[in-house]
């Protein structure tokens, strides 16, 4: 009897380990960042896009207003796709769209805005990409919905009609 318990328990033990690892294989290995947690917006110093003057983040974002921070760049193809949606959002004038020009060349960025329109109330630059990291961003395009200096929601990748509808719901 004693001799039988040992191999039996070993088999069960390895069975459990096999089961755990097998379940682990099925799990998605693609990391999906947490996009719903409320976080305070970071404090940073940057330069205004057109004038090149130094600005502080506290001046850009006021309390009691809804902002949509959009990280964009002229070299980013998905940014072109989402631009019409930003233009539409701006028509309603309910949300202040702030642009963060990410690792861009001024001339190219200016042409981009001339060609597709400028939906941004204010634009500031992030030449080396470090401000985007302060925001916890992954790349371009990315948008943050901000209220009372808190990030309410984060949209990774280009905006589409469905997401714009969602933003409109928040604004109401």
């Amino acid at each position: 009897m004693k001799n039988k318990i040992l191999p039996f328990s070993v088999i069960i033990f390895f069975g459990i380990i096999f089961f755990i690892f097998y379940k682990g294989l099925e799990d998605s290995k693609i990391y999906t960042p947490d996009i719903n947690t409320k976080k305070e917006i970071p404090v940073f110093n940057t330069k205004e896009f057109f004038s090149g003057e130094n600005v502080k983040s506290s001046i850009i974002f006021e309390i009691d207003k809804i902002y949509l921070l959009n990280i964009w760049s002229s070299w980013c193809v998905p940014c072109r796709q989402e631009h019409p949606f930003l233009m539409n959002l701006n028509l309603d004038n309910k949300v202040n769209i702030i642009g963060m020009n990410y690792k861009d060349n001024f001339k190219n960025a200016e042409n981009f805005l001339k060609e597709l329109g400028n939906p941004y109330k204010e634009i500031f630059t992030d030449l080396d990409g470090t401000i985007a990291i302060e925001w916890g961003a992954y790349g371009v395009p990315e948008s943050f919905l901000i209220y009372n200096n808190e990030i309410i929601k984060k949209y990774i990748g280009p905006l589409n009609q469905q997401l714009v509808d969602e933003i409109n719901l928040f604004i109401k």
């Binding site: 040992l6 070993v10 033990f13 290995k29 693609i30 990391y31 960042p33 947490d34 690792k103 080396d128 990409g129 470090t130 985007a132 990291i133 302060e134 916890g136 992954y138 790349g139």
Partner: protein, 120 residues
């Protein structure tokens, strides 16, 4: 006099370069332990993506500000979560990861020990 001046310059040069090397080592060590979040499977050190390059600049900045290695990890953890570290700490999500090898080792040892005793 000329020799003295020359040797002084040489000493200064070498001490400066060794200082630089130390900082580089630290920076490499930190960036090797940070996961590039948009090119998964690569560390920030290995990657040349826009994201990783910005991260490297930021690590340099933080080192210059005088932050320690752990403070830098802590900083990135608040921005991107535990996932950005390749060497996760012991907490409620990772305790199985840390304790399972020890547990397996102990059980294996117990089995071997038991079979020895039985043989005797």
């Amino acid at each position: 006099m000329k020799f003295l001046r020359f040797s002084l310059i040489v000493i200064l040069f070498f001490s400066l370069s060794s200082l630089n090397a130390e900082e580089n080592d630290k920076r490499n060590k930190i960036t090797k332990n940070l996961r590039c979040l948009i090119c998964q499977g690569q560390s920030v050190y290995d990657s040349d993506s826009e994201f990783a390059n910005s991260l490297k600049i930021l690590v340099d900045k933080k080192l210059q500000e005088g932050l320690s290695e752990n403070q830098i990890y802590e900083y990135f953890k608040t921005k991107y979560g535990e996932w950005i570290l390749y060497d996760p700490g012991l907490n409620k999500n990772t305790y199985i990861l840390w304790l399972l090898p020890i547990l397996i080792f102990l059980i294996g040892g117990a089995i071997i020990l038991k079979s020895f005793i039985v043989k005797k």
